[in-house]
Symmetry: C2
Subunit: 356 residues, 2 copies
């Protein structure tokens, strides 16, 4: 396989069989050809996401559905769990839509905890809790199961961004009681960007009914109406749907368990390898993500590492936001294997020798 040395955190390297699906000739999205594709994709997604909830396809990036979750499920008050840049973005989306957002924040590199959430909810009138499962800026994977147990104690909706975890670790949407669960196709799903998938519970739909200014584009009820006719309210990104359908086939072929184990093992190898090179793991290792690693360079300028790596043909991800100058990131989303990261680590060792 023509496999570039791409260790980005999304968009990621796309499998050639998936890429091939991007260049189907087009057809009308109101005809039978489209509906057949729609039915097929939704069927596979239900199995993959382990949910009986409605699944809608959105012509948007994940941030669009982040906004949808707020406009449909929060009339006034919301509680945001934050442990990095994307948690902050979720909160920004709430306030820019006129909602009152209460932040429960931990320092970057730490995980959000069930205990802090419990304390906050006990004295809150929030209608919903938002959480970013896997914080791509810090490489933290939040303990979703523990957080979900706390959420279940309260009468609140549970809005979960699984953008950089879905497809890289098990997420039992119904078991966890997630009301709105969304992800783009360009991370662990290994599909080009442009399509976002969201599951929406009955409870979330009921709540949406109470909210008047849901808008049109991101209104779950508009999506539901068309979804019942195996269609979408607006023109969908048909190429990405073909590609997603193929990617799901490949995932089922690999076996979901195998896929999740592979991600875990590969990320462990990355952490081990970078520590051997004298770097640190930026986040609390107890919550280190299985889909990407955020590396503390221990004072070395990240650019002095990423540039020579790029010259060797390896693309890594730079740090994000306020830790940009002290970290870089290695993604292992999608199809990255142990062999791939071993090759990467050898080259990284070589670069470090030349720098020091």
């Amino acid at each position: 396989m023509d496999k570039p040395k791409l260790f980005t955190v999304g968009p990621v390297w796309v499998h050639p069989d998936v890429l091939k699906e991007m260049s189907h000739q087009m057809f009308s999205h109101r005809g039978k050809d489209y509906m057949d594709l729609h039915i097929e994709v939704i069927k596979k997604l239900k199995k993959f996401m382990q949910t009986g909830d409605d699944i809608y396809l959105s012509t948007s990036s994940s941030t669009g559905i982040m906004e949808a979750s707020v406009r449909n499920c929060v009339e006034k008050n919301v509680l945001n769990l934050i442990c990095g840049a994307f948690g902050t973005r979720f909160s920004e989306v709430c306030t820019s839509n006129g909602r009152i957002a209460k932040k429960v924040e931990v320092p970057w590199g730490k995980a959000n905890t069930a205990e802090k959430l419990d304390e906050a909810l006990a004295k809150s009138d929030a209608e919903a809790v938002t959480v970013v499962h896997n914080e791509t800026s810090t490489g933290v994977m939040n303990p979703l199961k523990e957080i979900a147990s706390v959420v279940k104690k309260y009468d609140v909706l549970f809005l979960v961004d699984v953008v950089s975890s879905m497809g890289g670790t098990e997420i039992d949407v119904d078991g966890l009681g997630i009301d709105v669960c969304f992800f783009g196709t360009q991370k662990c799903m290994g599909v080009p960007p442009g399509l976002t998938v969201v599951s929406v519970s009955e409870k979330a739909l009921e709540k949406a009914k109470e909210i008047k200014d849901r808008g049109y584009y991101f209104d779950f009820w508009v999506m539901k109406k068309y979804s019942e006719k195996n269609n979408t309210p607006v023109t969908p990104p048909i190429p990405q749907m073909f590609a997603l359908s193929k990617a799901l086939d490949l995932m089922f072929e690999e076996g979901l368990d195998n896929r999740f184990k592979r991600h875990k093992k590969v990320a462990e190898r990355v952490r081990e390898g970078i520590k051997d090179l004298g770097f640190g793991v930026f986040p609390d290792e107890k919550y280190a993500s299985p889909t990407l690693t955020c590396i503390d360079t221990k004072g070395v300028d990240p650019k002095s590492i990423l540039q020579p790596m790029k010259e060797k043909g390896f693309t890594l991800a730079s740090g994000y936001g306020k830790i940009k100058d002290q970290t870089f990131r290695i993604g292992n989303m999608g199809w990255i294997t142990l062999e791939d990261v071993n090759e990467l680590l050898e080259n990284l060792e070589d670069v470090m020798k030349r720098i020091q």
Copy 2:
């Protein structure tokens, strides 16, 4: 060229050279590869749209930017010109976002007129006027130049949906004084769906500043901030950007004037041909669109025509909304030639002989 007989009204047939561009291997949207592509696409779009205004790329369908135009440019009152289903949708988008929408409506098949708009604006406190340039449901192209002259007399913003006209007829964005001008890639541009382009004037940006709950996803100021760094706030549909870049090259090669003349001539041929077959042109012919034709079947069940045509390999578009049972549509967006429609009309004649 492997050219299917697709006379849809979007998504339309995609040129093989454009389709090929859909399957580039991915890369991060925060790196140099992406920025080079972004700069290239924006440069071509500025030339193509004849505008000095900012141009933003949105990961959404056109309806998303329809909503953006309302959220950024209307605080309270808006005036909607309506002559069909998409004009009605624009109004729905306004009201579902809590705006007070005053409709200036004409019967389906008629065009919106400058006179009626003038009357309405004289006694209105609207902050913006919305219009759908080319109404895909009825095959009417509104007289944009006349409408624009009236809009210029008032202190209002001009929000124009050119979804099914841009690329099929000349639209001088700056000359017409359009403040927000938007279109998806899947119609006359002949690119797969998933990307929307919007130009935004200084005046529209200034107005947006006054509006508090613009949200995040469709906030023009967020788009502007990233656009200045040759980037997008959220992950863009990179494959559609490659395809659009190629499609623009092909358009410049054909020559924009030639392209617009071809659309006009082909639509004239369609109207002539269907009248020869005993059908009618649904809209007022004075305003018949150069990019699609809505056909009055004169009592014949449209399904009895579309199905046998489909069996012959020709996909036409069914009627839309309340005229579904009395019309069908023939699109000639993108790369359709006189030869293509002549072949279509011959086959249509054959089908009609068999029906009667």
